[in-house]
């Protein structure tokens, strides 16, 4: 059997849905970029307001650099919330569907009656999730790069925008991978979504509260949001903790999930 048949089929089936996600995320990127000049003009008021907020709230908003600098603005309005959350919803849904969702809807068994190994179905579908997430990130990042000049964001370098794009992609892929792996290992769609979305939320809270509550500050090393946002790749570029750390977690998680799926009873 030639490789890639399952991946190609997955991409083909998701064409139309993906088009809508692309349009949505493109619109978010354009609106966010286009709003910057207005925010900058209103700048002083905003910064005074932000300074009056507790430090933790500011950090949770991703606004540690203030919200009127290009990096601070994009972090607080895009990279620390809207963008990863949209990617997470897409990634966790697609990751869950790959094995556990297909198993629940009943389409996995007929597929596996064909001469195709289980690990290959899992690997190709995870590759599909990765590819689609990468394309969504790429669309938004490319738009931000193109819109830097018209909307006064040009002090951001292409390299830093690329690093932020890869960072947010890996953040979303990490939780998508968790949902995928838990679903592959257990066949439970509910458990897969709960793990992916639950851990994404929990680690977000840990990161957000880490500058307010000492207890969480001691835990923040474990939050992928902390890896990605502190310091932000928009100002610091390619850092190990934004790029390397998520990979160190997601690769073994995916491998273990696939290994268990390969031999377990289907449900």
């Amino acid at each position: 059997m030639k490789g890639g048949i399952i991946l190609v089929q997955m991409l083909r089936e998701r064409r139309r849905g993906f088009l809508w996600w692309s349009l949505g995320i493109a619109a978010l990127a354009v609106i966010t970029a286009a709003s910057y000049p207005a925010v900058k003009d209103a700048g002083r008021g905003f910064d005074e307001f932000m300074e009056s907020l507790p430090e933790g709230v500011v950090q949770m908003m991703g606004a540690a650099d203030g919200i009127t600098t290009p990096a601070g603005y994009l972090n607080s309005q895009f990279y620390a919330n809207v963008f990863p959350i949209v990617l997470l919803i897409f990634g966790i849904a697609a990751g869950t569907w790959s094995i556990a969702g297909a198993e629940r809807e009943g389409t996995l068994e007929p597929l596996l009656a064909n001469p195709v190994p289980r690990w290959r179905v899992a690997v190709e579908r995870l590759a599909g999730v990765t590819l689609l997430l990468a394309m969504l990130t790429l669309i938004a990042s490319a738009l931000l790069v193109m819109l830097r000049d018209p909307f006064e964001l040009s002090e951001l370098s292409v390299g830093n925008l690329a690093a932020a794009g890869v960072g947010v992609f890996l953040l979303a892929l990490l939780f998508a991978c968790l949902a995928f792996a838990v679903g592959a290992a257990t066949g439970s769609k509910g458990l897969a979504i709960a793990t992916g979305a639950g851990l994404a939320t929990a680690t977000y809270v840990v990161f957000g509260l880490s500058s307010l509550v000492e207890f969480f500050e001691n835990l923040r090393w474990s939050s992928p949001w902390y890896w990605f946002l502190s310091p932000s790749p928009l100002t610091e570029g390619w850092t190990f903790q934004a790029i390397g750390a998520p990979l160190l977690v997601l690769v073994p998680v995916a491998v273990i999930g696939i290994a268990i799926f390969h031999r377990r009873d289907l449900t």
Binding site: M1, K2, I5, T107, E109, P115, D265
Partner: protein, 302 residues
């Protein structure tokens, strides 16, 4: 039968889910050119046996042999066709997309073959699977199971939801694979569905194979519930002492009888008495093989 030649070779299969034993110490063999009817009420373990055979679940004990190997081996799965119990195929795909996708996974098959099968079953492959009726969806499953001329067919109640004409078409397909030397495991919960086609039949109850025999000997002992409607009131005593009849209820022009084995004696007796209709109620396997089930019915009636 020579065991080495078995296409399907299940030995001592036991499958437990937690505390539930779905299949217990099952032995089952199907040779080339043989159709094996696996009968049993719902929940008897037919689907569990089949899912173990296809490698979807692992046996707790025993082995499930297929074509001299195991379904995990891709070379073996390439030669197997499978129709699952509750057919769910990707609803958003057109039937033709699903069929060509599956054909590609099998290394590519000529579209002409697939098209011929669709035509034979009266399936329009350009429709979306989600928009098809239950019967038509089942046809898609049947086409994908037969399109590569498999050497082993594993069919889990393949004609549930199909009308009798289509049932006949499917049975014809099974017959032509049998003539080509394929072994077929055909599960069903009714005897009439498989009695025209099965060479041997196994009856599964609560995970145990309670009887295995040829269709001819099973027919001798199978029960039939018949309802005879006469044109006039039934003469008293007409149905007394007929060979094979074990229970008679007469109600005006209608007689309800239970016959063990052949109905020949009954038909002889009522000939000339203007029987207008004979209705059979032997769809329920529990009734048909009542006496096999009866002895272990005590205390845990279903």
């Amino acid at each position: 039968m020579n065991h080495d030649a078995s296409l399907i070779d299940v030995r001592g299969l036991t499958k437990r889910f937690g505390t539930l034993t779905a299949v217990k110490d099952l032995d089952l063999r199907v040779g080339p050119g043989e159709v094996y009817g696996l009968l049993g009420p719902n929940g008897a373990g037919k689907t569990t046996t089949i899912r173990a055979l296809l490698g979807f679940i692992n046996p707790t004990e025993g082995s499930v042999g297929l074509l001299g190997g195991h379904a995990r081996d891709l070379a073996i799965r390439r030669r197997v066709g499978y129709v699952g119990g509750d057919v769910t195929l990707d609803r958003n795909l057109r039937a033709e997309n699903l069929l060509t996708w599956y054909a590609d996974l099998r290394g590519g098959l000529p579209w002409k073959n697939i098209e011929q099968l669709c035509e034979r079953l009266g399936l329009d492959p350009s429709r979306k699977i989600g928009q098809l009726s239950t019967g038509n969806r089942r046809k898609v499953a049947i086409v994908q199971a037969f399109m590569h001329d498999p050497d082993v067919l594993v069919l889990d109640e393949p004609t549930a939801g199909l009308d009798p004409l289509l049932q006949r078409d499917v049975l014809d397909l099974v017959r032509s694979r049998r003539s080509a030397g394929a072994g077929v495991l055909y599960s069903s919960h009714t005897l009439p569905e498989v009695e025209d086609i099965a060479d041997r039949i196994g009856i599964l109850r609560r995970g145990v194979l309670v009887r295995e025999d040829t269709i001819a000997s099973l027919r001798d002992v199978a029960r039939q519930r018949l309802e005879l409607r006469f044109a006039h009131d039934i003469p008293p005593g007409l149905l007394d002492g007929v060979e094979g009849i074990s229970d008679v209820v007469v109600d005006g022009r209608v007689a309800r009888v239970v016959v063990d084995g052949s109905v020949a004696a009954l038909v002889d007796r009522v000939a000339g008495h203007q029987v207008e209709r004979i209705v059979s109620h032997d769809d329920d396997l529990e009734d048909v093989f009542f006496h096999y089930y009866q002895h272990d019915e005590d205390g845990d009636a279903t």
